[in-house]
Subunit: 117 residues, 2 copies
């Protein structure tokens, strides 16, 4: 059994996404080889890449206001306590549309959080 | 893409665990066939079964105070913002040791949340 606080993890910059940091809170380093739980923080105006990939996301919004942009380009407003499921191969991205940080946890199968080379 | 609120889900009693309810927030009904995100609420004094199983738990404490009991019987104090990883086949349980509700999300691979027969 491993217990962690988000604040005790190291924020990593996300390549190509200025203003976005990622923390792996529960992952391989904690022994979690099947599922990874990451914590993302988006500065005002920041966004994650618009992309699709062969694994799902399970998201819970923690702090701030933002949007998830679905496959059709529709923006879904998000606030703390919202849970979002993004299917494998579904085009998506997340944006901070507010003027304070927008933060969420994002759970993926391990193939979505590969080991650092 | 599916967006849910915990409050919009149906609390289910957990057999053999008085005072414990479970809500499947993101699961098969939302299209999530690989990973399930459940929300547990334990009334004061309530606890989950002491057991082990062939899948991991990734937990985040949301509300209240409680403990996770590890394989050796040690109690680890938990409060909101704590993340817990319980490995496959590790003996464990969770207890509400406070006098208010103790609530956490618990993420499992789909085999840990089988379809209702």
């Amino acid at each position: 059994m491993v217990v962690r606080r988000m604040e005790g993890t190291v924020p990593q910059e996300v390549a190509g996404c200025p203003g976005v940091t990622k923390r792996v809170v529960l992952g391989r380093a904690e022994g979690s080889e099947e599922i990874a739980l990451r914590y993302f923080a988006l500065a005002p105006g920041a966004e994650t890449p618009r992309h699709a990939h062969d694994f799902p996301h399970l998201v819970k919004v923690e702090v701030g206001r933002g949007v998830a942009v679905d496959e059709d380009g529709h923006e879904v407003l998000l606030s703390p306590g919202d849970y979002v499921y993004v299917a494998s191969n579904e085009l998506h991205n997340f944006k901070n549309t507010g003027d304070t940080p927008f933060e969420f946890i994002c759970i993926v199968p391990a193939r979505g959080e590969p080991p650092v080379a």
